[in-house]
């Protein structure tokens, strides 16, 4: 019997258990994966592994070109996709009128975010590699990844801009501020933390992508570090993809070690982003 005024607590407990399960299950999976790659790859993790070029002998092979390639790709993608994406979001949110046209654009951006990455790879191949004659270069790769993450950057930035209360924009306009001054001095500073979080998530996605780079023509075996925007390149995921498809056991171990490096890189990136965001948030509150 439940006492008067008390509801049964059973549904609450069931819901709690389900929510707990939803947290524990993915965590266990992740832990299993981490344990697997660490167990396999730990023996190959060393400074030499990070600073060596690929080789036909698994024990001599390293990931330097992939590591540098991934890093450069990410920096270039950030430089291309962030200004474009945030700019587009500002235009749509702050300057655009609510019209059919803007809703149409909105729908399409959401759709683009769901397009398989290989399609972006094909677009990159057609547009950047062939039509614009960028070749199978670092720049073509970065442009392709930028296209891939652009919808996400736009959507997250718009979301962040929307969290800035309308009455603050009004206060700014009433002081005689232009739209641009309002965006720059009032809206953007408050939206930065959200934009930053989204940007990092988008870049994390870019750094883990393989398919579009394969299509655009990243090489799987290069023994040099890219020395310019037009240089051929490889990236960590591609190196991993290449190694796991080899029959020798040594390369599988190399792949596991490279996965550990990739995961650590992403962890560092995300950590840095969270740190930056918290600092910005503290400053703005």
């Amino acid at each position: 019997m439940t006492a008067p005024g008390q509801r049964s607590r059973t549904p609450e407990r069931v819901f709690y258990a389900l929510a707990l399960l939803a947290v524990v299950l993915p965590l266990l999976t992740l832990a299993g994966l981490l344990y697997g790659v660490l167990q396999n790859g730990a023996e190959r993790l060393s400074w030499d592994f990070l600073t060596s070029y690929p080789s036909r002998k698994p024990l001599l092979a390293g990931i330097l070109p992939g590591l540098v390639g991934s890093f450069l790709l990410m920096v270039l993608t950030a430089l291309i996709a962030l200004p474009l994406g945030v700019g587009a979001a500002i235009h749509l949110e702050e300057y655009g009128k609510r019209s059919r046209w803007s809703r149409f654009i909105e729908l399409n951006i959401a759709n683009l975010a769901g397009v398989p990455s290989i399609v972006y790879g094909l677009l990159g191949l057609g547009l950047f590699v062939r039509t614009l004659h960028l070749g199978r270069s670092l720049l073509a790769g970065a442009c392709t990844l930028s296209l891939l993450v652009l919808p996400m950057v736009v959507m997250v930035s718009r979301e962040a801009l929307r969290t800035v209360p309308h009455h603050l924009r009004e206060a700014s306009y009433a002081l005689g501020a232009t739209r641009w001054a309002t965006v720059r001095q009032i809206v953007l500073p408050m939206a930065y933390p959200g934009i930053l979080t989204g940007a990092i998530l988008a870049l994390s996605r870019a750094i883990g992508e393989t398919a579009p780079l394969v299509v655009v023509g990243a090489l799987t075996y290069i023994t040099f570090v890219p020395d310019g925007l037009d240089a051929p390149f490889t990236a960590l995921p591609i190196q991993i993809f290449n190694w796991v498809s080899r029959p020798q056991r040594g390369f599988v171990i190399n792949a596991a070690a490279a996965i550990v490096v990739l995961l650590l890189t992403m962890l560092v990136l995300n950590g840095a982003a969270i740190y930056l965001r918290n600092r910005l948030q503290r400053k703005s509150s």
Binding site: E170, S172, Y173, A174, L175, G176, A177, A181, T182, M190
Partner: protein, 266 residues
């Protein structure tokens, strides 16, 4: 004579018109919320706009600094003259206009990311007209004018949203004053405040009208009676009555005004 034509001193009339509202009609989409309002706002005095919720009083005050047109689907017709010049004229830049006509909103809205000092200076920064050497002077003067200086002088660097509601509203007034407007519009500035904070703002309005032309929207008739020199009574988008505040509250000409101020509806 040429010298009188060049003379820029105001005419001797005791209450010259600062802002003249002429046949103003306003819409939200297809909904007409103002049906042709004509009334003056006298220089260096307080004009109150009263009326029940939804009568269009906020829209009316927002048409005086061209804030109305910022709303989605908003439209306006008619003439609003500031010092005789139509603010809806072709070559009037609404951005520059709003520097001459400040506005205080219903809910105190200091910029949450800024300190007390930066809030006061925000208008000058936003308009790119802040001279660093004058900053401290501007801050102190604006805060003094808004009767807030003594309360915040020791925490100018504290966040503006850390102040009490009444202090926040006076901070918003200081922020408006810092850009030296000529007219100050107040859209129910006390509706979110307690009685003590309200009376401080009302005292402040009394002082401010010596230097500024003030238009205030209020749903509180006692407040209109206390602070204003002229009162306009709006009902469903029509101006029912406009006269000196004393006259409007003691001997209203229109029976609807009488019903409203005696509390029969509203």
């Amino acid at each position: 004579m040429l010298s009188t034509a060049l003379n820029s001193t105001p005419p001797p009339d005791p209450s010259p018109v600062k802002v003249s509202v002429e046949s103003v009609r306003a819409w939200f989409g297809t909904l007409e919320v103002l049906h042709g309002i004509t009334m003056p706002v006298a220089d260096r005095s307080v004009t109150a706009i009263i009326g029940p919720s939804g009568c269009g009083k906020s829209t009316l005050i927002r048409s005086l600094n061209r804030m109305h047109e910022l709303s989605e689907g908003a439209r306006i017709e008619g003439r609003v003259a500031l010092d005789g010049i139509d603010i809806y004229g072709k070559d009037v830049d609404p951005v520059l206009l709003r520097r001459r006509i400040g506005m205080v909103f219903q809910k105190p809205n200091p910029f949450p990311s800024m300190s007390v000092r930066d809030n006061v200076l925000s208008g000058l920064r936003l308009t790119g007209s802040l001279r660093a050497t004058r900053a401290e002077e501007v801050v102190e003067q604006a805060l003094r004018d808004a009767a807030l200086w003594d309360e915040v002088k020791d925490r100018l660097n504290a966040p503006g949203i850390g102040l009490s509601g009444g202090q926040q509203q006076r901070l918003c007034i200081a922020r408006s004053l810092a850009v030296s407007p000529e007219v100050l519009l107040m859209d129910e500035p006390c509706s979110a405040l307690d009685p003590i904070a309200t009376s401080r703002i009302e005292d402040l309005i009394h002082t401010l009208k010596e230097s500024y032309t003030i238009a205030i929207v209020t749903h509180n008739m006692q407040q209109a009676a206390r602070v204003s020199d002229y009162t306009a009574f709006l009902l469903s988008g029509d101006l029912v009555e406009f006269s000196e505040t004393n006259r409007l509250f003691t001997s209203p000409r229109d029976s609807r005004t009488e019903d409203y101020i005696t509390g029969k509806f509203g």
